[in-house]
């Protein structure tokens, strides 16, 4: 008993207690990170496809995922345990769902046949099936034929080629048509706004007529070519057979990629794994974001963070400079500091609402009326966009930047400031040459905190410009290159959208983990680069040791 009392008295118990607290926190963080890591990287894994024969003779072609013990109730009311296996049967268009739980006891045989093929399709997810034959160039090839898979690959390439040619032709057609639609738009506008100017309208209509006549031939030609490509591609198809024996005609045009996982060795699988990661990073999403890449979301996230930093840093730094260098210290400055500190605690959705009301409706609406009135009632800046979202987040992160900058400014030695003034520097020269460089580490700390907070915010973005699928990037090669009015995609919102809004949540779950991993990675990268910059500057501006 005494021993226990001295144990408590000596304070050793508190060492244990605090160490325990630390351990627990660390364990939770590591647990979270490792789940996201494993699940995130796992989603690209190329798993084998099993042919599962059940005792009742049904056959599944599927990837085996996990086993789970469940408690069921028999008809007599007795509960019993049963092991179930989750399998990915894919073929969503036939089976209605991608996944299925089957009773493990009912499985009679599991095999891994060599010639099972997994098709990743542009639509409806994967198709797992046996290939029976291939129709190409008007001939039928059988799997037993020599070099069948080489022919198959060639046919696939040809269909891809046709498809891209067709897309190019369609684009060309659009270009040809655009002057006409331009005039038609003009006519419509005239008829609404200046209906009395019949002469002008008549003239425009005539112009339209001549233009139409000029391009008619071109349009006909293009349409013919497109038609031809469509026909050509409809003649490249394979007959495949799913696990339950259904025969399906698969036009190769609908296939994004195919592989035969059971026939692949480790190197081939690793290669495919890396290819998938690469595609994930650089490609556009497909199938309402559940497949394909997230490049637009990465781009949108990074660009928004950069725009936000560009907006918040000058304002935050200027505000902090004024507060510390120019303003008379007293009740008012204390009040302002208090207000700024409290502003940091305002829930982010409140900022979102402010952004919607002030930036979008008021500022954006005014800009539209002044500069883009010809496009009204279609809004240009009067609707959500990357500019408004970035500014909203800039506002949200302003307090942290101000506070961190103030700390940086306060850390600048007074001796240096006096020294500069005594040499005949004006106050602004002193601020620019002494205060700002020395406060740079503090400013960067503010930027780091702002990035950490801003990159992960989703709520305010949802009402200021984020969309689940943006047709164009906010920065591209078409004039004026930077399109601040455009809506954009964001990884945080992408996670929410794919994980909770998509029609096929189970199939997209791996994507959620992967995107979460990517978001963490991007935030850490942005932070680390700011931290490295700060450490470099700290070394450069270390204050006198003497």
């Amino acid at each position: 008993m005494n021993k226990i009392i001295t144990f408590w008295k000596k304070g050793d118990s508190y060492i244990l207690l605090t160490a325990g607290g630390l351990l627990f926190s660390l364990a939770m963080v590591i647990f979270m990170i490792s789940i996201i890591l494993i699940k995130g990287f796992g989603s690209f894994y190329v798993s084998d496809v099993a042919e599962i024969k059940m005792k009742d003779n049904t056959i599944y072609l599927a990837e085996i995922l996990e086993k789970e013990e469940v408690v069921l109730q028999s008809e007599s009311g007795k509960s019993y345990k049963q092991e179930q296996t989750n399998i990915k049967i894919a073929n969503r268009d036939i089976f209605d769902q991608d996944f299925k739980w089957i009773n493990s006891q009912e499985i009679s045989k599991i095999e891994y046949p060599q010639n099972v093929t997994v098709f990743e399709r542009w639509e409806y997810g994967n198709l797992i099936a046996y290939v029976r034959n291939l129709n190409y160039n008007g001939k039928v090839y059988l799997t037993s034929d020599k070099d069948f898979w080489d022919t198959f690959s060639r046919a696939f390439e040809k269909s891809e080629e046709n498809k891209s040619e067709k897309e190019n032709l369609e684009e060309e057609l659009n270009d040809v048509l655009s002057p006409v639609s331009e005039i038609q738009r003009e006519i419509a506008l005239m008829e609404i706004n200046f209906s009395w100017k019949t002469k002008e309208i008549e003239k425009l209509k005539q112009e339209e007529g001549t233009l139409q006549a000029e391009i008619n031939f071109q349009i006909e030609q293009l349409n013919k070519k497109i038609e031809q490509k469509v026909i050509e591609n409809s003649e490249i198809y394979a007959i495949v057979q799913s696990g339950d024996g259904t025969e399906i005609t698969l036009e190769l045009e609908k296939v994004y990629r195919f592989c035969r996982p059971n026939d692949m060795n480790f190197i081939a699988k690793s290669g495919l794994y890396l290819t998938k990661i690469w595609e994930y990073l650089v490609e556009d999403p497909r199938e309402s974001n559940t497949e394909g890449g997230v490049f637009p979301a990465i781009f949108g996230t990074v660009m928004m963070v950069i725009l936000m930093s560009i907006a918040v840093v000058p304002f935050g730094v200027l505000a902090a400079l004024y507060l510390n260098e120019y303003a008379k210290q007293g009740f008012v400055t204390r009040l302002i500091r208090l207000a700024i500190a409290n502003l940091a605690g305002v829930p982010s959705i409140v900022y979102g609402i402010f952004g919607l009301g002030f930036f979008i409706y008021f500022l954006g609406g005014t800009i539209d009326q002044l500069l883009f009135s010809s496009k009204l009632p279609e809004p240009t800046f009067g609707t959500g966009g990357i500019l408004w979202a970035s500014l909203t987040l800039a506002l949200l992160t302003l307090p942290v930047v101000v506070v961190a900058t103030e700390e940086g400014i306060l850390a600048v030695p007074k001796a240096n400031k006096d020294g500069a003034l005594a040499l005949g520097a004006t106050k602004w020269q002193m601020i620019r040459k002494i205060v700002l460089p020395n406060a740079m580490p503090g400013i960067l700390t503010g930027v780091i905190l702002a990035i950490s907070r801003g990159a992960g915010e989703v709520a305010p973005l949802m009402i200021t410009g984020v969309v689940k699928l943006a047709p164009t990037l906010p920065f591209d090669t078409s004039f004026p290159f930077l399109h601040l009015d455009r809506k954009f995609m964001h990884l945080g919102f992408h996670i929410y959208d794919v994980g909770f809004q998509s029609p096929n949540v189970e199939a997209s779950l791996p994507m959620v983990y992967t995107t979460a991993l990517l978001l963490i990675f991007i935030v850490i990268t942005l932070n680390l680069s700011a931290i490295f910059l700060r450490n470099y500057l700290r070394k450069k501006f270390k204050t006198s040791a003497f």
Binding site: A422, G424, A425, K542, F546
Partner: protein
């Protein structure tokens, strides 16, 4: 020991400056950091040109405060009030017409604790000329070199002008600060206990530098070290509790002071 300042102050002192040209003059300067509390009381003094003048007195008597009036570094302190007249070359430095930056270019300052900027040596010395509008590299180079030579630092740093000033030793840093002030080509240099934080060898070096500068500059140096005042200065002013007690040629003040208080102080009876 209790000193009755009021008594001794009522009698004024005499200073023989007949052979000197006066560059800086104060008349009846009163200074309050806090309303109603005088830190300087009725200070009137004439500083001769191209001579070294030392301010001595017990700590807290207002030596630094008076010194900082000469380049208006006190202006920044909120709530301060300064009365009286301070002229340099006959011009009132507190008049609205005086440009603060030009005054400070003309009146350089070296602080008690060396305060080199966290940049290269060259950048430190060129700081003053640069903020005062000189842009040309060759001209700046020349000014930097000449200032460093005058401050006895050129030989030690000429091969590493781009190295950080913070890597210099304490004494070198203080001489760098002197060079920095000299680069502005000032008329007057104010030094507030420039050697108080240095070891004896560095102190010696600073004193030598001051000795070399006396020909071309008016130097006003605050020191609590009476031997130093006796060594480097031509004139010495003794202050107490914000008042100018006695101002005279150094040789006279130390050998034959007019005031009892001065004698008590220099013989080490208090302070």
């Amino acid at each position: 020991m209790k000193i009755n300042v009021q008594n001794s102050i009522s009698a004024s002192f005499t200073t023989d400056l007949s052979k000197e040209k006066i560059i800086l003059e104060t008349k009846n300067v009163d200074l309050c950091y806090v309303p109603q509390v005088r830190t300087l009381t009725n200070v009137s003094i004439q500083i001769p040109e191209k001579k070294v003048t030392a301010f001595i007195g017990p700590s807290g008597c207002g030596k630094s405060t008076l010194l900082r009036c000469f380049n208006r570094m006190n202006d920044l302190i909120p709530g301060i009030s300064i009365k009286g007249l301070i002229t340099i070359d006959g011009i009132d430095i507190y008049s609205p017409e005086t440009k603060l930056e030009e005054l400070r270019k003309k009146v350089g300052m070296v602080f008690q604790k060396s305060n080199p900027f966290p940049m290269g040596i060259w950048e430190n010395v060129a700081f003053g000329p640069k903020v005062n509008g000189i842009r040309e590299k060759a001209e700046l180079d020349e000014m930097v070199e000449s200032a460093l030579i005058q401050a006895d630092l050129w030989k030690e740093v000429k091969d590493r002008l781009n190295n950080s000033a913070l890597d210099l030793s304490g004494g070198q840093q203080q001489r760098l600060c002197i060079a920095r002030a000299l680069a502005n080509k000032p008329e007057i240099i104010l030094m507030d206990e420039p050697a108080s934080a240095l070891d004896p060898i560095s102190t010696n070096k600073i004193e030598e530098t001051i000795d070399e500068l006396r020909e071309n500059y008016t130097i006003i140096i605050v020191t609590h070290n009476m031997q130093q005042a006796a060594r480097v200065s031509d004139y010495t002013a003794f202050m107490m509790i914000g008042e100018m007690i006695e101002f005279n040629a150094t040789s006279k003040l130390f050998t034959n002071p007019e005031k009892k208080l001065t004698e008590d102080y220099i013989t080490g009876r208090f302070g």
